[in-house]
Assembly symmetry: C2
């Protein structure tokens, strides 16, 4: 399910896109980091690894990877920035702790299948996707 940096790069290369220095670095960061990252955080990580970059190019690369389906965009409720994570992760949701602000992944067994069926029945609305975010207090903050 979760793709490696090499798999992603060679799949892009096979579609005629180039393996540039920055593209490799950015895909490396995403494959090495589970949790949703903002553009700014991504740039901090690049900086920390001494990878030179230009803001515009980073934003364009994020747009590119999003358009190719390599990463997904996430918007947390109380934030103004967009976040991104690898699209090839297992379908999951996020638990956002209101106290420590940390984000945890959660995989729901059966997910929202029941709810989506009932939406189709009651509204005739055909759900193709959903986005769900839980807020609360994590185990660590609860004692």
């Amino acid at each position: 399910m979760k793709k490696s940096s090499e798999e992603i790069l060679s799949s892009l290369a096979s579609q005629g896109f180039r393996m540039t220095r920055l593209r490799k670095a950015i895909i490396g960061v995403f494959t090495g980091n589970g949790l949703p990252m903002s553009a700014e955080e991504l740039m901090d990580i690049l900086r920390a690894g001494n990878t030179a970059f230009n803001r515009t190019t980073v934003y364009r690369e994020i747009g590119f990877l999003k358009a190719r389906g390599v990463i997904n965009e996430i918007q947390f409720l109380h934030e103004r920035v967009k976040r991104y994570e690898l699209a090839s992760l297992e379908h999951h949701h996020h638990l956002v702790c209101l106290r420590c602000k940390r984000v945890e992944d959660i995989v729901l067994e059966n997910d929202l299948a029941d709810q989506e069926r009932s939406i189709l029945d009651s509204k005739g609305f055909h759900v193709t996707n959903h986005m769900l975010e839980f807020h609360g207090i994590c185990r660590g903050c609860n004692r």
Copy 2:
């Protein structure tokens, strides 16, 4: 459940806040409009009703009503603007049609009670709130 403009205003007045011209107008717009509205849309409606206003004051009023729990903030995934709706509406979620972009409300019977229980069991994370958005094709667009 759904509060009237008068109920909201008198509750605010009882807490020492003033019934200003703009506050009345804005609360009137929210109580008269079911669906989540952006600051810009709110201002369009005020303009259409010949209510004079200042951008800053509208933003401050939104902040005020949010802080007092009169309205809730919503962030749709593919949008950059924040939206707001009356907090006293019944707990519900949104169906966003990918084709016509229209937003519909949905009230789930039983909501996410099962999922939240399983999150507490498996992660020790105590969910106090959640936010859920469904994407798909609405009945109208499906024929």
